[in-house]
């Protein structure tokens, strides 16, 4: 039996090494073909360091001898030797070959080494992909901390790609400092440029209430209130539990109010872990005043309060701790020595879920799951095994696929879209959807169905186009590692799920990513699949009718324009934070900020539309602010699902009428270009406005009151925004 690498390294012992010993190890490394575990990776890295520090001159020769190594371990050792000698360029090119070969922590380790060497070799612009992948794959506090440090170094040399910027205040009743670097790395992995403020230990209440606090000066967009169960000071058993629940909830609610109204921030409130070690044992949750019961009751009360309050999201710490394992969630040594909670190893799990919630708040929730078929929705190959031959229901393996389908179907009710992206004959692919009795998913659950023999990256692009979403909003699920690797290389923006071999683990693998986390589910979310399918039908109609206006006339379009109110605000804030394409200024705002604009007398317009194919719901938002006798359009956006129907004209017509009736001298429109909104660059000129000013990237356009702007004839428009203005 050949020597295992681990044993070989162990036998090698401490440096300095004899030439004979190194030769022996080299033989081993060259022939070792099994994938590396993180333990091997670190050992080899230190070994390389030890060899170089003992005899730097021999290292390049030793690395050259590893060129013939077949396995990943040999490649890794070679890269580590090259890095230790300072040959970063060469190390980076060896690592490039290894990058897509590993999953999980090993992947993170290799990606981080790749990024590190690319930076050292003077290619800061090339490190973003491997660095982001390291941040996404790792659950190690140390790897994430190192990734955050590398990120900071690289940002001094090149511009990092971010989808959102966010100022986040971390306030806590415990030591939370260690969470910041981990969270920074995880946020980078999610495309969020996070700037942190760490409140002083256990002073969250003073910080929020004091107008002169560091928190106030920081001007946070998001305030995370990280309270822990110990800070409540509950005894094992309390005498008046109802009072305690009321007091604690009221106290936090008043902090939320202060955070939202005075600081204009969105709140993330941590709930309370019910700790695993209770003297009362099971009775802790059974007795009316037991601490376990009380903490759960407070959690429920917090959820109820948060549902009543917009702009507050609860981070379910109790659930995160349970999922991680409560015995490892707390580290009594770190608690007693440093008031550190949770444990070091648990922080990535906490940070991961916090990032998922931040992503939801910032409008970065993934919009589509693109699914392979064979091996993903059922076992076997439909094209070869036929309807009766595939594994689906009726047995343990088949049940796992049914379970995964149920999970996917539930996702569609939160607003996610399903697409099929499969290499199959189309007639084979649809067969189970139409005829298999155990199929949970039916064709109506699938927004876009692509079964053909084209490369998957082409189909993913086509799906994104059909759904009118960005590739960065897509999640790709495929059981074939070669397809996954290909998509990663060709479309690095797409999130690729590292699917385990066992279908029983599929649900956990997708859910663990937290990519579909949302803070609110609107009616539009629940009906999104139908809406995309209707849109495809509209396109089919469009291709059979002549002019665009003829087509629009046949659609029978109805529009309803209303001012913002408490009922439609969640959807409005959702749109403000996620709309990219038809968005003139791309200003992202939370509930509190929108409310402040409303209170300051802005003209607000929420557009709903429907046609003969269905109801698209609230899909347009316009905010115009009075300024120097005129109105300035602060925000104007429309959901990509309703573009090309002259709805922009209906919205503008209402604004023009409002400006005239309320004696505003003119309307100023602003266009701020982004990577995604070029389609509205000439919107204002198309509407008849005149370019009036230019400032940095922004262009300003002017509409003089007095000119008439009609609603297009084929649109039936009900406008109740005029009345609202008069009432203010």
């Amino acid at each position: 039996m050949p020597l295992s690498l681990e044993l070989g390294l162990l036998l090698l012992g401490e440096p300095p090494y004899s030439a004979a010993k190194i030769s022996e190890l080299w033989e081993l490394a060259c022939s070792h073909e099994a994938p590396c575990a993180v333990a091997d990776l670190t050992r080899l890295e230190h070994l390389a360091g030890a060899i170089v520090s003992a005899d730097a001159d021999s290292a390049p020769g030793l690395a050259a001898r590893l060129e013939s190594a077949r396995g990943d371990c040999g490649c890794w050792l070679r890269a580590a030797l090259l890095e230790a000698c300072g040959y970063s360029e060469e190390a980076a090119s060896v690592l490039r070959l290894l990058r897509e070969k590993a999953a999980g922590e090993e992947r993170a380790w290799i990606m981080l080494a790749s990024a590190r060497n690319l930076l050292a070799a003077g290619h800061p612009d090339q490190i973003w992909y491997p660095l982001a992948e390291a941040c996404k794959s790792s659950a190690s506090p140390r790897t994430l901390r190192n990734a955050a440090r590398l990120l900071a170094q690289a940002r001094k040399k090149a511009e990092a790609p971010f989808r959102r910027r966010c100022r986040i205040a971390l306030l806590s009743s415990v030591t939370i400092d260690f969470l910041a670097p981990i969270l920074r790395a995880q946020c980078f992995g999610a495309g969020i440029d996070a700037e942190f403020y760490i409140g002083p230990f256990n002073q969250y209440e003073q910080e929020i209430r004091d107008p002169a606090s560091g928190l106030t000066r920081f001007r946070p967009a998001v305030i995370a209130i990280g309270t822990d169960w110990r800070s409540l000071g509950l005894r094992d058993e309390e005498e008046s539990p109802a009072d305690i629940i009321r007091e604690h909830t009221a106290r936090l609610e008043s902090l939320w109010r202060e955070s939202r109204e005075r600081l204009g921030a969105t709140v993330i409130q941590f709930n309370y872990e019910a700790p695993p070690c209770e003297a009362l044992g099971h009775l802790s949750a059974a007795l009316p005043g037991g601490r376990g019961r009380l903490l759960r009751a407070i959690n429920l009360a917090l959820w109820e309060a948060a549902t009543r309050t917009q702009g507050v999201a609860i981070l379910d710490v109790d659930q995160i701790a349970a999922r991680f394992g409560k015995d490892r969630w707390s580290d009594p040594v770190l608690w007693h020595t440093a008031k550190q909670y949770p444990s070091a190893e648990a922080m990535p799990a906490l940070g991961h879920q916090l990032t998922a919630l931040l992503r939801a708040i910032l409008g970065l929730t993934a919009k589509c799951v693109a699914l392979d078929l064979d091996g993903v929705l059922w076992g076997g190959v439909i094209g070869e095994d036929g309807l009766a031959g595939i594994q689906l229901g009726g047995g343990p393996a088949g049940e796992a696929f049914v379970d995964f389908q149920r999970y996917l179907q539930s996702l569609t009710r939160t607003g996610a879209l399903l697409a099929i992206c499969s290499k199959n004959n189309p007639e084979d692919a649809v067969l189970p959807f139409r005829q298999h009795p155990e199929m949970v998913l039916r064709e109506r659950d699938i927004a876009v169905f692509m079964a053909n023999w084209k490369p998957k990256e082409d189909n993913l692009r086509a799906i994104a186009t059909a759904m009118n979403i960005g590739l960065d909003a897509m999640v790709f699920v495929d059981d074939n590692p070669a397809e996954r690797s290909r998509v990663r290389q060709n479309l690095p923006e797409v999130a690729v799920v590292e699917l385990p071999a066992d279908p029983a683990q599929y649900v956990a693998a997708v859910s663990r990513l937290g990519l579909f986390e949302t803070i609110a589910i609107t009616r539009e979310d629940r009906e999104r699949t139908a809406s995309v399918r209707e849109n495809l039908e509209r396109k089919a109609l469009e291709s059979t009718t002549g002019s665009v206006d003829d087509y629009l006339a046949q659609l029978d379009i109805h529009v309803h324009l209303a001012p913002f109110d408490e009922v439609n605000l969640p959807r409005i804030v959702q749109l403000i934070n996620k709309t990219n394409q038809f968005n003139l200024t791309t200003r992202r705002r939370g509930h509190a900020e929108v409310r402040a604009l409303m209170a300051a007398g802005a003209y607000t317009q929420a557009m709903r539309t429907s046609d003969r194919f269905g109801d698209s719901g609230l899909t347009g938002v316009l905010i115009a602010v009075p300024e120097g006798g005129g109105l300035r359009i602060d925000t104007w956006l429309m959901s990509c699902r309703v573009l090309g129907r002259r709805l922009d004209e209906a919205m503008f017509a209402a604004l023009v009428r409002y400006a005239a009736e309320n004696r505003y001298t003119d309307i100023t429109g602003e266009y701020i270009p982004t990577a995604k909104n070029s389609q509205v660059a000439d919107l204002y000129t198309r509407l008849g406005c005149v370019l009036s000013d230019q400032e940095d990237e922004s262009r300003f356009f002017r509409w003089e009151t007095g000119k008439i702007f009609p609603v297009p004839g084929m649109i039936a428009c009900v406008d109740v925004t005029q009345r609202a203005g008069a009432a203010v």
Binding site: H46, A50, F178
Partner: protein
């Protein structure tokens, strides 16, 4: 430098964010102003993750120099 020293040096470099740091037994809060309570916890957490061990409260409190930290690691069987 032994492999263990090599690994420990890397933990120090990461905790103090200094890639040039050289590990010597005399490193301590007295000789290094950056060695505050947060840095101390970073060192302990780094050692726990790197060597797969767990520090007791006493070991955490007593490891107030690189030399003492090495002694604790040795007593826990690291490097043997």
């Amino acid at each position: 430098m032994t492999l263990t020293d090599q690994r420990l040096q890397q933990i120090f470099r990461e905790a103090f964010e200094n890639d040039k740091l050289t590990l010597t037994d005399s490193l301590s809060p007295e000789t290094m102003p950056a060695w505050d309570s947060l840095a101390h916890v970073k060192l302990i957490m780094g050692c726990e993750e790197e060597f797969g061990i767990k520090f007791t409260i006493d070991e955490t409190v007593e490891s107030t120099s690189a030399g003492k930290l090495k002694a604790v690691l040795a007593s826990k069987g690291v490097g043997r």
